[in-house]
Symmetry: D3
Subunit: 251 residues, 6 copies
């Protein structure tokens, strides 16, 4: 009996009444903007992120002439995507450390599953803009970004620019945490702001990890606790892979 | 026979096949975010702007102790709201002159129709974020901002913080222009980028203007031409007032 | 009897004792700096703006290789050009929204009356620096900028770089406003800070407009009021055209 | 037989000829600056980081009046701490995303093992400046920062400001990675720039983790691989705890 | 026979045909702006600097409650004050190192001759804006700033705010240099850009120095050369003191 | 009997018990970093500055194609190099005026003694980072920078890139000041913060000056006082030249 099966059996202590290993309702709606080469409105419960994939010819200076492409990401929150209004970063004149950390994470996650040589001297930028935030915006962004990226790559094939998609594998991300001493899957804001530990898993289709970030917010975490979170992360990723495939197929 | 009646009779030259005095389909959807005190998703054809009204206690430093409130606005475009991706202003480290010009316009338009003394020492910020741009984003923002602002004020009444809404009048905005020598109402992007003249009218419920901005993009405009645009602006505003009222009533 | 004739008949209510349709004393002194290709010290009463036109080879990146030139403007106020000292924008690290709005307006106004193809791959920058401010600095800047621009273009002809000046028409600007319910021409600071409505007209030699910006500062304005302001704007522009021509001829 | 025992048996493939589970020579020299309340020059092989702990009265605005203290960190690299010169961040006008990510990590790690209430309304800032970089600067910073922090807290006790040190536990950090398909401890620059996977473990004295960050740089990593890295991280942390204690005792 | 007497005897080698110890025509015009508490348009040949003294109640944060005032300076060049246009610092988003160096120098020079305690908790800001630059703008700024500062202090006495002026002494500044191996007084741009050595002397009424800055631009300078420059600096300062006194008296 | 001999005879009034013409213990340790082409850890008593010389191919834009090289400098203080912590300039987002002034001074001093043509199209950057500050950091930086620069140039010779070193002369710098009415050599922080006058001399091997900066901090200084400082500066420079030569020879 795996960790999460055992956990499912527990009387839930989650504010949302979800079972410990239960994700929120997740939707991945594609084709939501008129102009972008790929787009996906991803929702995890009340969290809503609009992701667009923009294809541009050419690559950044540090890659000029290396015969490869580039994939990068930018992340932002609308000022009132949160419970109380946050300052607009464009008005503040800079992106916060948190923003930069998140967009670097999204970019690395995408680059982990694409063949940049096969992409050719093109750049795809994933813009992840949070319309409404209720926890898990970075993992929702990654999950939706893969869909938008895949669409943009499929378009390159459909347009006969590339023979086949340079995407090598799926990638999805999910947050887990220890809430009231219980490992739970897919933290919402209520849980996240009170969790003892918070961990994000970025998992590929072959169930390897490309990023793990775990933080003991209120106390350290034991190796057993970490393993329980890892189990939950794998479980969540599997569910997300199916939703991603369905979203792409539906298009 | 007024200018716009005459114009309606003409064989249309508009890329969208609209009549010269015909607005695009406009929708004003309220309550689109969970947290904001007022919100409105406004669409003018393919132009989509998400407006939120955020209420905060207190006022900016220059108004401290003056016994009045403040209403201000911020404007932004998602990087891929446009045909080709624009640089994210937060990443660039500053808001462009165009952005500042627009958000100052929205703020002045709102302050023109609210009694700031009656609002008390509170600030309402209207965030206007363009999800998709097809011309007319600033006028759409103003039209939607009034709805979000009215909702936030109505909430102050519903919450028994104020006895009556400090809103004194309606306000809506519409762009007009001279396209292929014909005055037309509500320019879309195709028209806007080729118009000889572009004019924005911000009109209050009593049909007075609070802002007029007209620019001869390719050539100067005659006084007759300007008057034709003014007629169209008034016609458009009247239609928008009805839609605003319906949106508030529907809530 | 036109609007402004009627107004002239009124007992004046202006702090300066001017008649409603009376401009301040305006001077346009050319050749005031040793280095600039064109220069003009423009005064409207106590408002003094030093305008220089700087010619440079080449064009900004977005125009490279398009076989045309560019005209742009920058605007600044000396910190103590105003009644109380304002913060130096260079020290603050950015130009205010107002500054950017004004310099964009000046630039558009100049580009409206010049043949950029005929200018060739050259850029002319109009620097408008306010030495003393008493209202109307943006309209004074435009009026003086045309003189400096014309001088720089004439120099290109005199130097046999161009066969004829690429300037197509004159352009001048004037502010009008509704002060104590009376439409008046050329607001000074006392009037401007108390006006109900403030409108700037940028008018070309053929009496077409290239920019109109009208703002209801304290209340909306009716169409009749706006028309009275427009009449005043045209009257003022005509007077300014004569002064511009005299200034150029005097050189 | 644990992972790292098995690994030790392998013929080493490391450029430095270290065994897979062998750390570089680590030194922690205290009292290296005259002014700071705590200081530590930490070296991991050729990596050298100067850490100072600065005590200041008062706390940042968001903590005013909450009866608790704050611990934060800043990180920087001297421009020529690296193989080729990097741009000075002060000259560039901003800290990179990487810098902010690292200093946030150091700060969280320190706050995980201190009782902020017991510290009282004081702030301790850990400045971690890299004099020479050969991989592992963030983990070296954390390991040295704990020593400097402990010194500053001990000084508060010695100065009779506090009765006992608010430090609750030790904390140290170490990087591990998969290099040529072998899990290895304490990556140097040669290894780091070629590793398939890179993981940082921040471990407390009771062998719990407070931060884990693992990244698949070239490919995903399996759960077995991750577990081998975790084993190495724990082994490294234990060795570092002894060195930290010796450094404090030596003082 | 002093150095400069000897030098005067030489056949001049200066592009301007001035004798080695001959200053350019210097004018100090006061009362040139309507609003500032003190103002002076200072010209040294073609160099023109507009200086205003602005009096404000209160002092910067670091002087709060210390019972003293503050005098500071800001410096700027209009973009086309120079032979070719320079970038506007407000547009560039920062003041150059040169600008900051100069304004710090002006500020120190003024503080050297005023009793800040006697000034009381007031700040006087000297804005030195270069309208036209032909060498020596920093020394012209200091020389003119003293006049503007004295006027502002005299106004405090005239307004019966202070019983007597807090100004303790005069201060003036002049540049000297070694041009074609000859020490010369008051370098203009032609000389400055070709001088072997460039020295600025800030001298008080009792002929003490408060600042000396000498730079060997093309080669080092001997002690004899330096002494010759110092002699010239004293000679120049004496002439400037008379002009300053005349300017104040004329007012 | 020279000035400084006379001074040495006086009963000392220096907090450090040094004689008026006595420098602090100075050390110049070379080869202190692994990567830089030249490096020097320079100490003047408790002042410690780490200087690295970084060689890069190519020159800044303004020198492209002129067939010459460039030498420049950057300066920084670690936040806790001072008695109380200063704000990190990278976090503040800009370098202070003082920092820029100092790094410009260091750069000019180095360029005064190198043949930039002979260096060829290469740039050498001297990074001067203050690890601990007890007065005289700019003069220590210059003194150490010459050593690092010479090492980098010698390396170009050793690597057979250049036939001989482009260094033309030695350069060293020392501060002097008037402390309790006595001219003293090499101010430490205690003296510097209380000195009446502070002067920095940058002297070349042939005992010419390339920079003199003297400031009357509390009062003006007489010509005799200045001459006494100049004598001390020359004495100090001679001692530093020997130490520089010894440091290079020791390597």
């Amino acid at each position: 009996m795996s960790h999460f099966d055992a956990l499912s059996a527990l009387k839930t202590i989650r504010p949302s009444n979800r079972k410990p290993d239960q994700m929120r309702a997740v939707t991945l709606e594609t084709g939501v903007t008129r102009y972008a080469e790929g787009s996906c409105l991803v929702t995890f419960g009340h969290t809503k992120v609009l992701v667009t994939a923009s294809l541009e010819q050419g690559v950044p200076g540090f890659l000029k002439g290396k015969g490869q492409g580039w994939v990068t990401a930018e992340y932002g929150m609308l000022p009132r995507s949160t419970h109380t209004r946050s300052r607009r970063e464009a008005a503040a004149g800079k992106q916060s450390g948190r923003t930069q950390e998140i967009q670097r994470l999204i970019g690395r996650s995408m680059r982990a599953i694409i063949d940049l040589k096969a992409l050719g001297e093109r750049q795809i930028t994933l813009d992840c803009d949070v319309l409404q935030a209720d926890g898990g915006t970075r993992t929702a962004s990654i999950t939706g970004a893969w869909v938008a990226l895949a669409m943009a790559c499929n378009k390159l094939v459909a347009d006969k620019v590339l023979e086949k998609s340079p995407i090598l594998d799926q990638v999805a991300a999910i947050s887990c945490g220890i809430f009231e001493n219980t490992p739970v899957l897919d933290l919402d804001y209520d849980e996240d702001s009170n969790a003892e530990t918070d961990a994000n898993f970025v998992i590929t289709g072959n169930l390897e990890a490309v990023e793990i970030q775990a933080t003991g917010e209120k106390r350290g975490f034991s190796r057993d606790e970490f393993n329980a979170l890892y189990d939950l992360g794998i479980k969540g990723a599997k569910e997300l892979f199916e939703l991603q495939n369905a979203a792409l197929a539906a298009k």
